[in-house]
């Protein structure tokens, strides 16, 4: 076959990029342009599926930069393959949704929107497949820059302000904290390659590792650990497909994926366990989980509530990485997958509600479920998954995280996770609950939801359910990374 | 102390001139006077070079007639090597003599030219400033510029 793993690695970046070029060129004819996006997304998904199948070989593609001792590279390993699969799979769904949303709301500058989408996906692929910190940093920054026009899409003063805060926090943390950490790693270990068992394991003392750990965790601003989280609620000024992309597929998942990858391959579980900083970083993550949930409860704006819910859910991954027990890290990796599917459902539903009824405040949504049963049904499924109820996928990460916390004796963290579930119920369930059980609103819908806006959340909700049953293959796939025997 | 001053009086003068010049540059508001101060400052440096290059008892650095014949080819080398060796080549026709060092003077001629060029450009700029602003007082010019700046801000 002509298609080798190395070519597939490169293709994962090139397919969306070329797709973007075509989208740009076809800007004048919307249907062809949308077609280009869909074709690119399907091709990418197929390519990533191929990559997933050859993960066992660990193919890699390294480019040395002259004699500087630094290199760029792509390398496939299970975590990265999983993230790439999630991103590419959800891109198809999100593209369908975007088409429906943008047309349904008559948004302007659609070509620019779709072009930067493809670039952002390409960058997310780069983050997923990077072989060392330098490459990951490069794509991480490119991701921030390419999503900026998407956040500022509406172009009014409010959008620009939100986008400016978005950019300031993300670039500030990455250049101010992450980059020094990477430079220090290069200096200490002589390279920034992701290594099994941890690059710094054995090279850095626990004290030094603690300092670096703090720099890394707060430097990866996309993981939205408090207090570097404000960019997330501020980014809600973006159109909903962007929020769906940001909060499920590309940006935040790139952030927590980076956290997990750094924890696993740069520090390694031994070093993290030995470093004193990991204990109180875990506590900060726990506080982040609870505090964000509380703020979520007090928000009446649906997207803002979902944004803080995301902040809370992302800290699950951070807490798992800091607990550093194999089960906890497995839970963190699973959270990346499960939360992605659930959150994108919730956001797409929010967008569908807005498209159909122009409502953004939760208090206005009473009884709306009777008029939009599919949408609210999907929302309910997503909510259940986030709360962690079986038979929905979100149960597994919570379970493994709690088991991991128990295995290291940190019972207080289990308490935080349970408290979080209760708070999730409090701020998520009322929305579909009141939607279905309150009397129907007086005015009817402005227009019935277009199919492309209603169907995708249903698909992803179904996906969240199916993933519950796929736990076996998922764990087998991830087992080599964490050394977990089940 | 007195001996020091007597021996090194040239440096004292240089310092006085240099500081006077610098003070004039800094303290005056008139652009032409500033240039005068600058010239004074540069002149003090010329004096520094010339006075340091003084060789007491030195003769003009010209080889005497009798050494001419040998001097043709040796002439250029004499410039590179110490005068004494060239005289040795000349075969004892001339006693060893002490020559004044021409180099500092050459350097200062060059520096004077540079100073003149600088002064010329400076004065030309002052003329154009006068044409444009109507004044050569620093304060007034700053006021005029500041007014433009603020006007630009409010525009």
């Amino acid at each position: 076959m002509i298609w080798s793993p190395e070519i597939a690695l490169l293709a994962a970046l090139i397919i969306p990029a070329i797709g973007g070029v075509f989208v740009g060129l076809l800007g004048k004819s919307p249907n062809l342009r949308e077609g280009a996006t869909l074709v690119a997304s399907v091709l990418l998904a197929l390519n990533v599926a191929y990559l997933v199948s050859v993960t066992g070989d660990r193919p890699e593609l390294i480019y040395e930069i002259g004699s500087t001792g630094l290199a760029f590279g792509l390398k496939l390993e299970p975590l990265g393959a999983l993230f790439a699969a999630v991103a590419s799979g959800l891109w198809i769904v999100n593209s369908l949704y975007s088409i429906g949303y943008m047309r349904g709301n008559n948004e302007k500058d659609q070509t620019r929107f779709f072009v930067f989408f493809t670039i952002a996906i390409a960058c997310a692929m780069g983050v997923a497949l990077s072989s060392n910190l330098l490459t990951m940093f490069l794509f991480y920054e490119a991701l921030t820059l390419s999503t900026y026009p998407l956040v500022a899409h509406k172009g009014d003063a409010k959008a620009r302000r939100g986008a400016a805060i978005y950019l300031a926090i993300l670039l500030g943390t990455s250049i101010g904290l992450l980059l020094p950490a990477i430079i220090a790693t290069q200096y200490i270990a002589g390279s920034t390659d992701f290594t099994v068992g941890g690059l710094l394991n054995g090279e850095a003392s626990p004290m030094l590792a603690s300092v670096l750990l703090v720099l890394f965790i707060f430097g990866i601003g996309k993981a939205a650990l408090m207090p570097v989280h404000p960019w997330l609620p501020n980014a809600m000024v973006a159109p909903t497909p962007v929020s769906a992309l940001l909060h499920a597929v590309a940006v935040v998942k790139a952030g927590v994926f980076a956290v997990l990858k750094v924890s696993t391959y740069i520090f390694g579980t031994e070093l993290i366990a030995a470093a004193p900083a990991s204990d109180w970083l875990a506590w900060i993550a726990a506080i982040s989980i609870v505090a964000a949930s509380v703020i979520a409860m007090s928000s009446n704006n649906l997207k803002r509530r979902l944004a803080f819910s995301t902040v809370s859910q992302l800290s699950y991954v951070t807490i798992g990485a800091m607990i550093a027990a194999p089960l906890a890290m497995l839970g963190a990796a699973l959270q990346i997958v499960m939360h992605a599917w659930a959150k994108i459902t919730l956001f797409m539903c929010a967008g569908a509600i807005y498209t159909a009824s122009k409502k953004t405040e939760i208090s206005d949504m009473r009884g709306l479920g009777r008029l939009m049963p599919w949408t609210f049904g999907a929302f309910a499924v997503g909510a259940f998954s986030i709360i962690g109820l079986p038979p929905f996928g979100g149960m597994w990460p919570k379970l493994y995280l709690m088991m991991g916390a128990a295995s290291t004796g940190q019972l207080a963290l289990i308490g935080a996770l349970i408290l979080s579930s209760i708070l999730n119920v409090a701020y998520l369930l009322p929305i579909p609950g009141r939607g279905f059980f309150d009397p129907a609103p007086k005015e009817s819908l402005k227009k019935p939801g277009p199919m492309l806006v209603v169907l995708p959340p249903v698909i992803t909700a179904a996906g969240a359910t199916i993933l519950f049953f796929l736990i076996g293959p998922l764990t087998d796939f991830l087992a080599p990374v964490f050394g977990v025997e089940l | 102390m007195i001996e020091l001053l007597a021996e090194r009086f040239n440096f004292i003068i240089v310092i006085i001139l240099m500081m006077t010049g610098l003070y004039a540059v800094v303290a005056t508001g008139n652009l032409v006077k500033r240039l005068v101060g600058l010239s004074l400052f540069q002149t003090s440096v010329f004096l520094l070079y010339i006075t340091m290059g003084k060789v007491f008892g030195g003769q003009p650095p010209i080889l005497p007639e009798s050494a001419e014949g040998h001097g043709e080819t040796a002439g250029y080398d004499a410039a590179a090597h110490a005068p004494e060796t060239a005289l040795a080549d000349a075969g004892h026709h001339v006693e060893a003599a002490i020559y004044s060092n021409p180099l500092p003077h050459v350097l200062i001629l060059t520096a004077i030219v540079v100073g003149v060029a600088t002064l010329a450009v400076g004065l030309a700029l002052v003329v154009r400033i006068r044409e444009s602003y109507g004044t050569i007082e620093d304060e007034a010019i700053n006021q005029a510029d500041y007014a433009v700046d603020s006007a630009g801000k409010n525009a």
């Binding site: 500087t68 172009g155 101010g176 200096y187 | 540059v25 410039a79 590179a80 450009v121």
Partner: protein, 509 residues
């Protein structure tokens, strides 16, 4: 490069060091009497091309042989004036000639727009004098000769800056202040050279370098050192001796700013390196103490203060001028680290900064040619009107911040590594802080160009107004260079490492 060098006949290459400087001087005289601005430009172009080819030939020789030494007029050093090119000033030679060439190509539309027709050939004449002067500074091995060429380039610079008066009369006061400060600086330098002559009896820098170590306790030598670094520091715009720079860059014609920003301060920095490491020697106590207390400290202060000042500027070119002062601070930090790695990083930043600032100022000039841009707010919405120029500007801006994928990243990286190796983690922190501030002011300009809505009075004229291709071509050559050298940094790294080694080789004498 070897191929280009082989194009020239051997007897010309033999005298290349002299011709490189003499040709622009002669052509300047010719340009001065030409009636037509275009002819003047053609003369400038021919002259820079010749100098560039010769410079390449010299650099090839240096890379092969080590040191090229040329005795002016056949008078042997150390009594005669020597033009001496080693790996350290080979970098400068290449930089000045190539950037001069790109600037001249850029100049035709820019100068035609900004300078009165009857003055254009005189303008080009002054430019050629400046070009010759800078090349002379870079190429000479004699200390007083360096002063002379320094002043030649400076005086013509004052004239060039003053020519901006046609558009903004503040150029005159800027040129005047530059003249005063520059002359004081050059005079300090010549005082220092005088002291060195007093102490060593020679003006040849290589010769001085061999005699000075015996005189290390002499007050005269120490005073000379102090005068020299103050004088050269003023020319190099080291903080706090930089006060002439912002106004000079802001009000000069665009072509002048582009050329100066990429060459003038770099040459002065080179002279600092040459004196500190080659003529004087780093082990001497009085030199070693200056590394930290003068260069490192002032470099860091300059980096941060100038960057902060840049953030608050309204005028676009003034903002970039303050940014240049900050970037000089980076180079000074590299110098202050005092190791070969530090000097190499400083030299690398020198080259990279020339490329970055070249693009940025060229782009601003292109905006100005079409629309008379002064303030940052004038730049609103330019991305739609002049997309190519805007993208080039963006690349330059990102390079200034040090984003990976652009060559500016390597400068920051190597400076950071050199500082780390020296144990100066606080210098790395300062480096990162100033990068963040740079991000702030670059983001401001980029936001204006890409995101802001264009002004109403211009909205009608939006229909794309491309910059003239003679401006776009050099701009894009530099922009692509910014990206190319990120992926292929070997050439830059090898020449800057060689430069640092050459600087330190002075000790061996």
């Amino acid at each position: 490069m070897d191929f280009l060098a082989s194009l020239l006949p051997a007897h010309i290459v033999e005298h290349a060091p002299a011709i490189v400087v003499v040709v622009p001087l002669l052509m300047a005289a010719i340009a001065a009497i030409l009636p037509n601005g275009k002819l003047g430009w053609a003369v400038a172009l021919v002259s820079t091309v010749i100098s560039a080819l010769l410079a390449i030939a010299i650099v090839v020789d240096v890379q092969a042989g080590g040191v090229v030494s040329y005795a002016m007029g056949g008078w042997a050093p150390p009594a005669g004036i020597e033009f001496r090119i080693d790996s350290l000033n080979a970098v400068l030679l290449l930089l000045i000639t190539l950037l001069g060439l790109l600037s001249v190509i850029y100049a035709l539309p820019s100068v035609a727009d900004e300078i009165a027709d009857n003055r254009q050939s005189l303008f080009y004449s002054a430019f050629l004098v400046c070009f010759a002067g800078l090349l002379g500074v870079a190429i000479t091995g004699d200390a007083f000769n360096m002063f002379v060429f320094l002043e030649i380039s400076s005086i013509s610079t004052y004239v060039l800056v003053g020519m901006g008066a046609a558009r903004d009369r503040r150029a005159l006061t800027a040129a005047y202040n530059y003249l005063i400060l520059g002359t004081i600086g050059a005079t300090f330098f010549v005082i220092g050279v005088g002291f060195l002559y007093m102490a060593t009896g020679t003006l040849n820098m290589a010769d001085m370098a061999s005699r000075l170590p015996d005189l290390s306790s002499s007050r005269v030598v120490q005073a000379a050192f102090a005068f020299i670094i103050v004088g050269l520091g003023l020319k190099a715009a080291m903080f706090p001796l930089h006060l002439w720079l912002p106004n000079a860059y802001a009000y000069a014609p665009n072509f002048v700013t582009t050329f100066l920003a990429t060459t003038a301060t770099k040459v002065a920095f080179y002279t600092l390196v040459r004196f500190m490491f080659d003529v004087f020697w780093p082990e001497a106590a009085f030199v070693a103490v200056s590394f930290f207390w003068v260069f490192a400290v002032l470099g860091i202060v300059g980096m941060i203060v100038a960057s902060i000042q840049a953030v608050f500027q309204e005028d676009a070119r003034r903002l970039l001028a303050f940014s240049s002062v900050a970037q000089v601070g980076y180079m000074m930090l590299g110098l202050g680290i005092g190791t070969a790695a530090g000097v190499s990083a400083g030299m690398l930043h020198l080259v990279n900064h020339a490329m970055m600032k070249g693009v940025l100022f060229m782009a601003l000039g292109a905006f100005a040619v079409r629309f008379g841009i002064r303030r940052i707010s004038d730049l609103n919405g330019f991305a739609r009107t002049m997309p190519f120029t805007s993208v080039a500007f963006t690349i330059g801006g990102l390079s200034l911040v040090g984003v990976p994928m652009t060559v500016g990243f390597w400068s920051k990286w190597y400076l950071g590594v050199a500082a780390f190796e020296n144990g100066w983690w606080w210098a790395v922190a300062a480096l990162i802080l100033s990068s963040l501030i740079a991000l702030a002011y670059i983001a401001r300009m980029l936001a204006a160009i890409w995101v802001a809505e264009p002004h109403h009075d211009r909205a009608g004229a939006i229909a794309s107004a491309r910059a003239p291709w003679m401006m776009l071509a050099p701009m894009w050559i530099l922009a692509i260079a910014n990206i190319w050298f990120f992926f292929q940094p070997d050439f830059l790294i090898s020449i800057t490492n060689a430069a640092a080694e050459a600087a330190f080789a002075g000790e061996a004498r």
